[in-house]
């Protein structure tokens, strides 16, 4: 029990750090500019945190998003809007993960994972996340944008960002660690 609590806290701290690294990529932009980006790297880092640690890091992602909404973004420090957007943003990957588990695909087991499942997970999460945020924002705020192009940008940005980050990290981090270990072994 104690070990589980310790793992839970450590996983959440690391997940918080990963999501905050992703958020640092959108720091110079306003909230609505970042939503219209064609590559939402922050979304990719959020997906990565869920893929590594599973659904148990939900509190860390909500907290990271809340930090961004309240203290970094320019939505005006509205706490209700911040809480709602953070919850929507954090719940989308959890819902997608649950939906995939219904379909007998265990996305949480990284050892036996198929990259095609990861791509589908990113696709499903990007659709759910974009739809939730779009419907919520269009209900709350009078956006000066064309409906279809706004949602299209949102979807494309989520998908490219998610796929780009996960693919690059899955491809290059093991190689980098491999080279690092070779250097250490050769020096020793």
């Amino acid at each position: 029990m104690l070990s589980y609590s310790k793992d839970f806290i450590i996983n959440n701290i690391f997940a918080y750090a990963i999501v905050m690294i992703g958020i640092s990529f959108i720091y110079p932009l306003t909230f609505f500019d970042s939503a219209n980006q064609y590559y939402m790297l922050a979304f990719g880092f959020k997906i990565l945190a869920f893929l590594i640690y599973g659904i148990s890091i939900l509190p860390a992602v909500i907290l990271a998003k809340l930090t961004y909404m309240l203290y970094i973004s320019d939505i005006g420090g509205d706490p209700v809007l911040a809480v709602h957007l953070s919850l929507l943003s954090a719940l989308a990957p959890a819902v997608a993960m649950y939906a995939m588990n219904i379909s007998r695909v265990d996305i949480r087991n990284l050892k036996s994972i198929d990259f095609r499942h990861v791509i589908f997970f990113i696709l499903l999460t990007s659709v759910i996340s974009s739809l939730l945020k779009y419907i919520y924002l269009s209900d709350m705020i009078a956006l000066d944008a064309l409906a279809a192009s706004y949602l299209g940008n949102y979807l494309l940005g989520h998908f490219i960002g998610g796929l780009g980050v996960v693919y690059l990290i899955a491809k290059y981090i093991p190689n980098f660690l491999n080279i690092l270990s070779h250097i250490i072994v050769s020096r020793s």
Binding site: S103, S138, D139, A142, A147
Partner: protein, 186 residues
Amino acid sequence: MIVFFTYFFQNTLWTLDLTGSHIWNITNGASIYFPLGSFILVTLIYRVKAFIGLFSICFLAGLYYQLEEHLLYIFTLINVVGPYLSIRILEAFKMGSFTKFPKQYHYGELVMLCLTASIFNTLGKFFVYYYDPEKSHQVGYIWEDQGATNFLTSYLPGDLTGSVIFIFVALGVAKVLNLKQLYIKN
């Protein structure tokens, strides 16, 4: 026949409103849209061979609703191709296998198929309808009217619930009446 029956059922009982008190509006979808379930079921059983029948019935339904010409063709195409593409996408991503459908199936995979098909159906129609160049001058009005949000919030849940309910009821009825005996592949 399945598609024809569900369209008739949907039109008379859910969408048409024979009293004439309700004016049909394209941005407000049915709260439970059974026809998508029938499209998925028919495509699951007959695959490409169902295209001609599906196309004709969807085209007739589009004519009945007096859809504009370009919407009529593209909406019909989305209705016909959407479920097939969803099946192919799920099989390509190893999310499920539907090759032995009527004999072997998994309920979770069918739910995922309904979810994918309803996302495909809703987003396809949404992008076609709101990218209409003739309506570009009305976009501000549509936005203020919450037409786009209404479109998504009515079509997606309606498609999902309708397709899941239809498929599960149809499979239950087929099991009770032992209709698998009548099914002949090829």
